[in-house]
Subunit: 276 residues, 7 copies
Amino acid sequence: MGGNDQQAYDRGTSLFSPDGRIYQVEYAREAVSRGAPSVGVRTADGVVFVAMSRPSSTLMEAESIEKLHKLDDHLGTASAGHVADARQLIDLARRQSQGNRLRYGEPVGVETLTKFVTDHIQENTQRGGTRPYGAALLIGGIDEGEPRLFAADPSGTPNEWKATVIGGGRSDIQGHLESEWTDDLSLTDGIELGIAALAAHENGFEPDDLAVATITEADGYRTVPAEEVAEAFAAAGLVEEEDEGDADDADDAGGNADDDTDTDDTADAGDNADDE
Amino acid sequence: MGGNDQQAYDRGTSLFSPDGRIYQVEYAREAVSRGAPSVGVRTADGVVFVAMSRPSSTLMEAESIEKLHKLDDHLGTASAGHVADARQLIDLARRQSQGNRLRYGEPVGVETLTKFVTDHIQENTQRGGTRPYGAALLIGGIDEGEPRLFAADPSGTPNEWKATVIGGGRSDIQGHLESEWTDDLSLTDGIELGIAALAAHENGFEPDDLAVATITEADGYRTVPAEEVAEAFAAAGLVEEEDEGDADDADDAGGNADDDTDTDDTADAGDNADDE
Amino acid sequence: MGGNDQQAYDRGTSLFSPDGRIYQVEYAREAVSRGAPSVGVRTADGVVFVAMSRPSSTLMEAESIEKLHKLDDHLGTASAGHVADARQLIDLARRQSQGNRLRYGEPVGVETLTKFVTDHIQENTQRGGTRPYGAALLIGGIDEGEPRLFAADPSGTPNEWKATVIGGGRSDIQGHLESEWTDDLSLTDGIELGIAALAAHENGFEPDDLAVATITEADGYRTVPAEEVAEAFAAAGLVEEEDEGDADDADDAGGNADDDTDTDDTADAGDNADDE
Amino acid sequence: MGGNDQQAYDRGTSLFSPDGRIYQVEYAREAVSRGAPSVGVRTADGVVFVAMSRPSSTLMEAESIEKLHKLDDHLGTASAGHVADARQLIDLARRQSQGNRLRYGEPVGVETLTKFVTDHIQENTQRGGTRPYGAALLIGGIDEGEPRLFAADPSGTPNEWKATVIGGGRSDIQGHLESEWTDDLSLTDGIELGIAALAAHENGFEPDDLAVATITEADGYRTVPAEEVAEAFAAAGLVEEEDEGDADDADDAGGNADDDTDTDDTADAGDNADDE
Amino acid sequence: MGGNDQQAYDRGTSLFSPDGRIYQVEYAREAVSRGAPSVGVRTADGVVFVAMSRPSSTLMEAESIEKLHKLDDHLGTASAGHVADARQLIDLARRQSQGNRLRYGEPVGVETLTKFVTDHIQENTQRGGTRPYGAALLIGGIDEGEPRLFAADPSGTPNEWKATVIGGGRSDIQGHLESEWTDDLSLTDGIELGIAALAAHENGFEPDDLAVATITEADGYRTVPAEEVAEAFAAAGLVEEEDEGDADDADDAGGNADDDTDTDDTADAGDNADDE
Amino acid sequence: MGGNDQQAYDRGTSLFSPDGRIYQVEYAREAVSRGAPSVGVRTADGVVFVAMSRPSSTLMEAESIEKLHKLDDHLGTASAGHVADARQLIDLARRQSQGNRLRYGEPVGVETLTKFVTDHIQENTQRGGTRPYGAALLIGGIDEGEPRLFAADPSGTPNEWKATVIGGGRSDIQGHLESEWTDDLSLTDGIELGIAALAAHENGFEPDDLAVATITEADGYRTVPAEEVAEAFAAAGLVEEEDEGDADDADDAGGNADDDTDTDDTADAGDNADDE
Amino acid sequence: MGGNDQQAYDRGTSLFSPDGRIYQVEYAREAVSRGAPSVGVRTADGVVFVAMSRPSSTLMEAESIEKLHKLDDHLGTASAGHVADARQLIDLARRQSQGNRLRYGEPVGVETLTKFVTDHIQENTQRGGTRPYGAALLIGGIDEGEPRLFAADPSGTPNEWKATVIGGGRSDIQGHLESEWTDDLSLTDGIELGIAALAAHENGFEPDDLAVATITEADGYRTVPAEEVAEAFAAAGLVEEEDEGDADDADDAGGNADDDTDTDDTADAGDNADDE
């Protein structure tokens, strides 16, 4: 469907195109792919989140970018896309988690929570007078001792994953995960895999540009400290950049960030840092 | 009615075209036909659901695609089309089933439940400010000992069937069902018929790509385990693919998947997996 | 008024055209005429409904097409047009009938019920944000011993009839009724007249393609069983088809189904069976 | 104001044109003039209503067309235009009449009731999201012994009349009334005048095509039986038609129905009988 | 601002044009100027209303045109423009007058009432989804012994006047008032001035075409009877017309009705008598 | 931004243009500048308001134009622009002042009241379905012994001023105030400055065309009587006009009313006096 | 995306463009960049706000421009952009601060308050019928002894900063901050840095054109008096202008205000001072 025809159907969430598509949802997916990527890896020991979290200015506090969020003791989320939209979904998830604990005295299940969030997302894709959420979430946690990892996209579709990525560079990063993920990864392996997968799309980032968290039965939700991130960064075979442009990621055999059409240039966009 | 004229009437659910059609409902049907097919077969012993359920990535948990859902002890549903939309309808059906049990101490009838769902679907085709549901459901169960199978489409029309299909490849698959269905099928026959019918539209799928469930008086709603699916797959005369392209379905005499205009390529669409 | 001018005024129920027409209501009538016809005949003994009810697939349960509906002991309705829309009106009529019985301990009058339904239909033709109902109803019953037959169209106009038809092929069928109806018909005569009238528009249908019901003082609402329908079919001088195309209806002197511009081809439309 | 300019301002009730007109109200008046005419005549003895009420089919019950309605013992109404719209206004008037009797133990005044109805009509000409009523009413009755006759048009303007007409053929019929009405008419004279006035616009109708009612102090609202109508028809100098086209109305000297631009062809429009 | 540019801003009350105008309000003023004029004159003894009130048919009751209305013992109003709109404002004013009396046991002030009405009018010029009122009012009365006269226009602006006119022919009539009004007019002088002012715009009307009322401390609101109107008509130097076209108003030296662009032809518009 | 581009963004309050402007607010400012000017001057002794208030007809009561309003004992307001809009804001301010007195037993602060009003104004610039207020206010009073003067514009921005003007001729008048205002003005000086400032934009007005009020600790809100205005008029060096066009304001050295593009011709616009 | 394509998607907050952008939010950012800049600097001792606050007239009270606001004892905010919009957000923040104190007896956290405000901002970017806020805020305070500084932009994204700027001239000013900020700045250093940063974008302002405030543990929110501002102005190496155009800022090596495309000319826009 060409430009003019497409434009006839892409101005509202309450409209199907003749070929059965909802363009506003597809544009919201585009908003997600404009953001920096967040990787989730399910390992035997727990769930790992690795997010690209690079400030647009040296004066911005990196942690305020907030790609990773604890939702409950054993429950966390990683976001990509429109930051303010993601915050609304995360608030919703957090309130639901807390409410479940208050009402039933136990944590909400990972799958239950994911579907609560995606049902809310779907409503914004069907009723007029609103737009879809321009954000995607990974929701991970420990359910009765088992690590679980789900993704929620702007259409409101929930899916469970062994390892996946949301945000820019999806095809490179998911390809790396598919070729390298095994079901016997340790938690540390998972962190390294997450970092290496991000490098499959884009090189030239530093350990400081990453936010990493893990969720395990033993330790619950845990923000991985900078030194551990740096160790994993090195263990993943990456080297910190001295100057720009000369440090290619050794793992990044097939992926070529230069010709990637995904837009992941948030860090350079000083004024428009709402998509992270 | 040509392109320009059609565009004059296809922007809202609250609009008839001069020839009495509601285009948004027809486009929602198109959204359903973009999804992978789900077959329902009524047999003497119970109702069989066979759904194509092929993940878009090897790392996606196949069961999280969720084409088949238990609604009550003897009541289940199969969906096709926009996943998030289908989830809303399934939640509605489930709440109504549970409510009926709470209020009356007995399960809701299959026909009653179907019409409750289709009346809700219809409302979204008449009022402005919303779009129709881009999903179809098969609802099956045991009513006073009798297997019943209904379909609900995006217009909100309920119909009872001996065997039918929703989703992509409808004409090939329904044609196979019409030529092969008999009223003395055993439950196992029904599973094999469902699988063979799917193969009438598309070859090259594996047992693992299928989700199968049965509903019988004796066992209620039952998810058919992988080994039984594989047995039925073989019994249906299908062989698992070694490499792509060479394994044609022996049953697929008349159907030709290649020239089928229905779009059933979801499994290849990594980023747009909301229509399953 | 030509095409472009008409398009200026046909996009909403809350709009008159310069010549005082409400196009959306006229398009809703077109939706009705796309459906299979339903005939109502008032006889000395009661009201007869004969509806064309031909499944789009051999695997569809014919009775699930549901053209005829019991509303109360001595009250029934026949529908034509958009199935899901008709269901909403029938539900409304049924709830009103039941409510009347609960409140007053007696059945609602046929005329009272018809006007309750048409007043509701009218509201959808005046307020914006909705479309008219794309369905028409015949409502028949016994009022203080007298058979009464009413029709409700998409404008919300109620009229009482001796015999009439809603749905496709209206001019042929109504013409046959006008030339053959007399006020001394027996109930059996009425069934035969209804069948013959349908044949005035279209030949090539079987007794199984018909749904017939009667409402009499003695027996209330009664679904006429298949064998009686077949008898009346034969008594109406029709013969069941051996092969397509050669069996012309002997009664169909003036009517010529071939050049009829009404669209009554629902039975062939596998995917779009919402207009029945 | 030409075609294109007019179209800029005629799409909503909440819009004035630059010359201060509300086109949707004028189009609603056009809807009224598409309907068959209803005449009201105030005589010394009471109010007379004569309405053209010709069924579109010999099988339609003429009285179900319902142009004349009793509202209370000494209060009635005649309608013209869109039937379903008129029914809403008549229901409103009837509820108000009954409510007045319940609250105050006495009938509502003719003028009071008319203004209650016209105020409701006006609201639909000022607020968006709705269309005006495509119907006009005559409201007549006995107020403290005096016959009163009012008209309510689609703008919501109430006016009191000695004699007037609503619906098609207004200029011919009103002209006849203006030249023939005197203030000493008997009730029978009034009926004959009403019939003759209708004939001033259109010949070729039969007594059966008329609905006549009177409202007097003595008898209240009274439907005039067919034999009395036939007598008045003859007394008005009209003869029943033997065959079409040859019977001209002797009274119809100046009026010429052939070049009248009002559209009063409802009786011939089998499928679109909503404007009566 | 030319035609096309103006059209960009004249479709809603919630829209300013680039030069700060609200076109819908100006079009509503045009609706007022399409109506017959109503004059108000403040005299030493009280307020005088003189309204052109000419029926569109000899069979219409002139008093039902209702240009003048009593609101309370010493409070009245004269209207011009869209009749049904004016009625809504007059009802509002009457309810407010009555409510004030009920709550406080005294009549509402003329200025207070006027501003209550104009505040309501203003709201319809600012919010979308409605149109302004196409009517203007004169509100007059006795406030603590003093005659007061106010005008309310479609913008909702209240102003106090010694003498003014609303409706068609405003410039001629206001000019006559400005040149002839003095502060020592008697009530009878005021009536004659009002009649003469109307004649400054249009000749050829009869005393019967006028509605006149006065509000004085002594007599409160009083409808001036026909004979008194005829006397004032003669005293104003006007002669009743024998035949059309030859009787020019002697007082109408400067005014020339023929080249007046105001449209005041309501009396000739048989079918569109809603602007009076 | 040129004409066509501007038009794309100027149709609603809920819309930014690409350069970050809200055109409807700017057009509302234009509505203010179409009105006659009102000047506010803060002096050591109190606040002075001088408003141009020239009736459009000799028969209009000048004081009913109402440019100046007392809000509380020591609180007043001057308005410019769309009269009916200004009245709504003034009513709001008055109700808030009275409410404050009732609740707290003391007058509301000048700044507090101004911000209450501007917050209300802002809401009408952000939500759809309404237009901004086409009026500006000066709000002045005595706060704990200190004179304060604020202005509220159609964007809802509050600012405090030593002396300022709202309405037409702003640049000339504000320029005069800036060159002549000193912080040691007496109240009488303030009145003369206000009059002279108005004359900097437009000559040819009379003392009767002015409304003047002062607010001081000693006397509270006080309407300055005509004779005092005339004295100040003379003291300001202005002479009353004998005939039009020859009396230039001696103080008006730099300002040239003739080439001023502000439109302040309200006094000549007989029919459209809603902008004052 | 070019002009025409962009225009297709920039008319509502409830619309994504095909490349996943929300143009109305980007235009709201443009509204912010039209305003005068406000700088925030976190120092070891507390948070510093320096805002350009230059009145558009010598008669406007500079402090009424109100760029800096105390929210609580140790909490303040600086705004840029549309003044009336900013006021709404500041009111919201103030009410939330006060409410927190009332409910919990302690001040709200800086981060908590910022996110409360940004969540509100986000809602106006997703629902139709409103526009985004055309304002940005810096929110600073002392949290458990630690200075914190956050920024909230029109998308509703919160970020924490060491030092940043909102409003016009962002790239020059942020660049200066990035090159000069160190973590050992004293409060006085911070004021000087803020002033010098503003000078990096624009020269030719005076100490009087600045509003400065500090928030420290010891003194809470404190408005810095004019003499201290003048000292810091001098200490920053700036000299007060004698005449326009010749005084270049010695610190402003790289920045060149002349070719800066940001629009910061508010001080010259006499009539449109709503963006400050």
